[in-house]
Symmetry: D2
Subunit: 140 residues, 4 copies
């Protein structure tokens, strides 16, 4: 799989904003997460299939961050771009960029693992190769 | 002001969690933000006073990140600790730690600026010294 | 204006759902509110114009409710339909229906007023006729 | 069990509010839900025990509503009161009141059922009597 980019648009609404009239920042991470899940669905690798085929409870977060370049307000359309940039044995790194038109609003990243439930309900990050292969094969 | 730590507890509820039965991660940032505002209130520097005295529309985010060490689930009490660790001319850096009992759940940080509205509604980060002085004087 | 219906689609994501694997219900109201604001935008009556032309701080909620008929889960597309059904001197009533394909997921309503800030920051519901006229004229 | 009332306080934060500087209304329902779960925990009937003892996936919503009497803004402490008011064979009705000091902010209600997963993942509302008995016995 080349480092192709998945894009999705968010219509920024009044209720996404705080009294400073800009997006309440945790909402950006809601959109990171939703974009990642839409990307999985677009490859035929939605969470239900991951659970069924790989036994995972989720593609959980290990590390996340964002740098904000310009504020986003209601009435704007935010284009969120997601790129898979790095795999290790147990993690995948995803980068995000948010634009309003040509204006860069933020850059960010997530590092995710494939979480499995162990005896006693504890979660651990499992080897991620089966997930990588599933994504690369996609629906095909 | 020494690097004192402000603590607040969050009762983690069913609705804070996703189908993996762990906290949906953007909620951690909701709690970062709420803790920061509670800290401001505890110093008599709530957003309404900042707006009135300093003319700011908010203490906006410039950079944010978190590393997750262990998952948090509903029924648990999360103790969130906040420490002011660094001031520059236009930013303040805050670090966060989340514990469930003695278990470390995550570490994180925010870099915030003092946002002012310019002509035309554009926001800019103003010199932060007046905010620092206000915080250090506190209610006293 | 006839009682025409405005429709919008929501891609239901993993993070919208709780450990019961169905939508955490407050999210439905986030979508009610976002649909209402998208409807306003579609008529050229977004919140910024309302504030500028009518001096309102928002189209605030007076009453809201919903009845859930069938659960909605991640991976589904929810079609949300909004209809303006009744005006009084100070309120507008909006009904909502949510479908997943042909399956009815919920019905709901909002009663909203046009909130103005009075001296001292108190809010009051103003006569709503100017808003009605603005909506009926739309962009035209 | 008499119709006793369970109370919980919410510190209303900047990020709970929208550009009208009042609480973004879906947050009230987040707090309804969290209060209900805190009430269950206070009786020793948290969701994990319900799942284990009764096999339920959750105490899902059937109907919900609220009437807003006065706006709530950041810096205020909202006292949320919950009362179990009515049981039918498959539902329980809960009423809510929100006060800021002595000022009534809203009244509301939820009707909940005890949701069980059927074959194929479909949910149904099961007889609620075992849940009622568990609640009435509480921790005792």
């Amino acid at each position: 799989m080349t480092a192709e980019t998945f894009k999705t648009d968010v219509t920024v609404s009044f209720g996404h904003c705080d009294p400073a009239e800009i997006v309440f920042y945790p909402n950006f991470f809601r959109w990171f997460d939703a974009a990642f899940h839409s990307f999985l669905e677009s490859r035929g690798c939605g969470q239900k299939r991951l659970k069924h085929d790989l036994g995972t409870v989720g593609t959980g977060l290990i590390d996340v961050g964002a740098t904000f370049r310009s504020p986003v307000t209601f009435g704007e359309t935010l284009t969120l771009s997601l790129t898979i940039v790095e795999w290790t044995s147990r993690t995948v790194k995803i980068t995000y960029e948010g634009h309003v038109g040509t204006r860069l609003a933020f850059t960010g990243h997530e590092v995710r693992g494939l979480f499995m439930a162990e005896e006693g309900g504890r979660l651990r990050a499992a080897p991620i190769e089966p997930f990588r292969q599933m994504l690369e094969r996609g629906r095909g």
